[in-house]
Assembly symmetry: D2
Homo-oligomer: 369 residues x 4
């Protein structure tokens, strides 16, 4: 039985981790960390867990927790993990970080977009970017996994085959993403009140959203990997060790939108095709990379992803349309930001690290309606 | 492995049965019945099931299906099952009916409220009302189970201990219930369009909703059972065999409301207390009946049920407040109409019939947010 | 041109006052009061008012404001107005208070339910309860109007004819009310976050909601008024001057619920009829009181109120069903909590005070969908 | 008093026309046309109009209606008006068509995208495209106005200054649009049921939506008009008369999305800038075209449009961000699809035709929340 501790278990992503781990037959939760609710019953913070979780929330203390847990999930604000991580922790437990602290290999980029100093640069090389389908082998041996962002997972998986196969002009990529409101977290902000979000849609963080460089970095690696058999993590390492070889080969426009719904992300991606590819040409490439991926569903021709069809599950639904008139391809990807976009992918990473079947605890079908 | 066939698998309740049975380790679905989508891929009707369910929808034919299935779930319109049921079917398979055909012991009442002739009165005696917590033993031996309505389950479970213990004046019961829109089914009616339901609440079927007599009948049995150890089903049989002994000892006001949300039912129940009971008095009675019921959660003092805390799960949350000023008790019950109010309870009935652990396949925690 | 000042103009009710007064041809807003946003452009707080309202928010100062304004609306927390009101203010301007400070004639009741000391008891006698349809004449001469609560307006208007005509047993009244989320105000509380409210319904303040005594007091006056021609305000005065003569002749159960929608209140009211009244009997009584009330719409037989049909307007929709089986009547009332339940009624009060047509600025049809 | 008849008054757009015209002091509705509800009270179809509209629905008959009305609004399915329009009608009444029949000057394009034959090509030249801000003078003298589509109005107004001033590369335009569900109309389709739309977002009509050629045609005219003083309508006429001179100078990608809300459209538009323009450069151009347009609000720097801020009103909110990293500009436009996207603009056109103040009946502030 894998002992799991959760730092930040009272945020939305932390609570989703709880929900998923409760259904995982080889893991048990040993620590419900929470700064805000120390000593309060977990089920008083999340009423759904009444009579299911008996534990009280505990103070966050990674140095202690690491001795009791085999794996620690940190569902914490940016900067927290980088501020406390050390060798003691990593020697005692695997760490899967749901924050952005170790996602970006280029700390200059991190500090520029996040506007905080990175306090644990010595672990950036070691950290593996936990996009399971693209970095499976590297994740298996990792001590520290940087679980990708929700927008990022959707965007990268949607475009990855096209970028890796150099089928699109990387200078023309536009990603217009839409997210449910749980992505904004559980803090009491006026902008997230029911009446402020309901019956409205808006773009936010236009040209400045922090998931932008994460998408660019990973798609950049995909582009550089090209027709080699390298995974993205390996390319990332090479770019770091030889900065000149890397650099960022692509810049994108990424625009997130807030949608009046609880869960779900839809990314609508646009790019110019490098050639007059047919549907079959493109389908073949998506099949090449995703045919054996059980959590990636490339839909039937003509069926576009809808977030309702993935809610509560670890699936990513993807499909595309080629516009012969404009020479562009439109790719849509949909996932549940709480599952494949956060807690589900974190558990998928745990499964990889501990040598379990990758889908363990993750086979729940989407809940509809 | 229990072989399960579903008639009406493309309605909302039918689809929820599919979702739950897919996670049940001792059952497999052998037949996806559907009148409207014969030969179409099930996953083209419900996109969430893409790459999960490969089967196509099949024509409904209970006489054939009963030979292939150990249990048949009928999630069909009123009158369907009564029109086709026969001894051949019941000898070959257990039948769990999610419609109202066999819920009411009094067929006069059925015909009056449903305005259709009952075509299988010979099976009414045999049918067991499948409210698991109240009729557990009778269900175990049943061939035909009448799965209760969603409003009904919420209302009965909320008031049952008070009525059975004769703590409330049965002439003063008012049940004001609120339901998500999935309860209205998946047919294309103008009244159920997004823009007609969204941003509004209304009462409907005021004084005429068909779940009224079902609640009255079962609470009536509870009242008659009183301090005996009989289950409701047994009392029901007695009432039938001696009409004079039964009659309906209580009449209620039941008012359903349509709420702009997908899932969930909240029943707010009012009744005059027969005495100056304290919180502890009443709590003791709820504990007496529900303490060992894992799917019934009587909440902590002061915490009232909210439908969000049961969504996607088989739980019923219940709590009450005594109003000393008016001498009334206010009891609230909440459940997910698709699960404990339909498909989950149906599976719970299946588990009872087949001697499986009652909670098998039903332990998923509520999904939030 | 009536000069209007608004204290608390940046709350939801305050903003709705702005919206309505902007369309009022005989009033202009001279002061946008706000504690939280002093010196900020009003349109930066409410983007809908961009290029419509140019003013900045000003500090609340009733003693100054009263010299610039003919009427002051206070859309402020409980206790605010009672803490500052004085003769200077009332001599200079009419005050229409949207808080509860002057709604209850019995200050013991006020202090018990609101748990704050009342600091201006000397003005309670003078204050007129601003339910326009019931206190029209008293309002016309008032200096200080207590604008009724949203739940209260719905509940009282729904039951008023029945209570005044002694057609129902006042000991059996149950009011089950449902409100959109704007009623909770614009403060940043976790419980009002989008993801906490959406896809859920709950009862709150069960047996303890502060609108309960307000409903009881006014319906009590209605009962006492009986077949006299007195308005409720007059009866209230009499009760105050002779406490023994008054007392509260009725106690009710009032249960509010939070509904995932922005606007709207639906009150479903239950009571035992004192006799076997027919539909026509009851209809005649509603017609007697409401036939000439343009903002009260008693719907056609069989059509029950829905909040969508009154959204954005000053209408109250009412209808009833008699349940012969139980001897109860079920009355539903629906209004927009922001308009007839707050700002619209406040403007209606202003019109009455200033001798304008009562409907001026209030004739906008409901907005649908 | 202008006498207005409405064909299709029981659709959502038709009903919004009713709502707006009821508040218009120089117009009265003389005919509530409806195929589906002939002889039924209008207020039984739309409960909000109870006691406001007394009329019953009448059969559609333009040849008769044109004698009773000064202006006819046709809120009808594609092909209807083209099938019945004739000289008798146009001689007797002005016609403002909310369908697409006369929006496209190129009937080949119409027949290709709409897949129906155009039956009144003789009136295409005469019809004026009713985007008021861009074709004001032409509209004033028109007999037949083609009221623009909702997506179209948002998209064109968002990009118009940039295209007309040749500031963007017209080969790089991507428009990602999001619409509330009222845009789908009031027909009972399974896809528009509450539970199918709620808690989900999807793209639809990817690369094939019929508003695409309309946007292309009008932005094409804008591009051709360039720094002349011509309005779009005039350029359109020139293109028609000399097909070679016209042709479509730009092709775009337009992707609509369905959002779980009633009203509102947000268009997020992307294009490569032709030069290193600053914020001030671009702002100057938007000011040049829109500074005096009262219904177009170019927001303050850094404030992006949200649909909630325009709901119920005739405003279009627009703003932009320049992305120096990618050389792209991101422009967002928001409006209420029922008002500026349909009925409001139709009334604005009516005002222009009849020489009334352009804003008459259209000054209602947005309703929030």
């Amino acid at each position: 039985m894998i002992k799991a501790g959760i730092i930040g278990s009272t945020g939305y992503a932390g609570q989703e981790l709880v929900r998923i781990l409760l259904g995982h037959k080889d893991a048990e939760i040993v620590w419900y960390g929470s700064r805000s609710y120390v000593d309060e019953a977990y089920s008083s913070v999340y009423g759904n867990m009444f009579e299911i979780v008996d534990a009280a929330c505990m103070d966050d203390n990674l140095d202690e927790l690491c001795k009791k847990a085999d794996v620690i999930f940190t569902a914490t604000p940016q900067g927290y993990l980088a501020g406390v991580i050390n060798e003691n922790i990593l020697e005692n437990a695997k760490v899967i970080d749901l924050s952005a602290d170790f996602r970006l290999k280029d700390t200059d980029v991190y500090e520029k977009w996040y506007k905080i100093d990175h306090k644990a640069k010595q672990y950036i090389d070691e950290a593996v970017y936990g996009l399971c389908e693209l970095n499976r082998e590297s994740i298996k041996g990792a001590r520290l996994v940087a679980n990708p962002g929700c927008y990022t997972t959707t965007s990268i998986l949607s475009l990855y085959p096209l970028v890796r196969e150099h089928m699109v002009d990387t200078d023309t990529i536009v990603i217009d993403a839409k997210s449910g409101t749980s992505g904004a977290g559980r803090s009491a902000k006026l902008a997230n009140l029911y009446c402020e979000v309901n019956e409205s849609i808006k773009a936010y963080g236009v040209t400045t959203h922090r998931h932008t460089p994460e998408i660019e970095e990973q798609l950049g690696y995909a582009f550089l990997a090209g027709n080699t058999s390298k995974d993205l993590s390996t390319v990332g390492q090479e770019c770091i060790s030889d900065k000149n070889a890397g650099g960022n080969p692509l810049l994108i426009n990424f625009t997130p939108h807030l949608v009046p719904m609880n869960r779900g992300i839809l990314a609508t991606c646009y790019a110019k095709l490098n050639d007059k590819y047919t549907y079959d040409d493109v389908k073949a490439v998506y099949d090449k990379y995703y045919k054996n991926e059980q959590f990636i569903r490339v839909l039937n021709k003509g069926v576009m992803p809808e977030t309702r069809w993935v809610e509560g599950s670890n699936y990513v639904d993807i499909n595309f349309v080629i516009d012969e008139r404009t020479g562009r391809i439109v790719v849509c990807g949909a996932l549940d930001n709480m599952v494949k976009g956060a807690a589900g992918q974190a558990v998928q990473n745990m499964n990889l690290i501990f040598g379990l079947p990758e889908n363990e605890g993750l086979l729940m079908p989407p809940v509809f309606p």
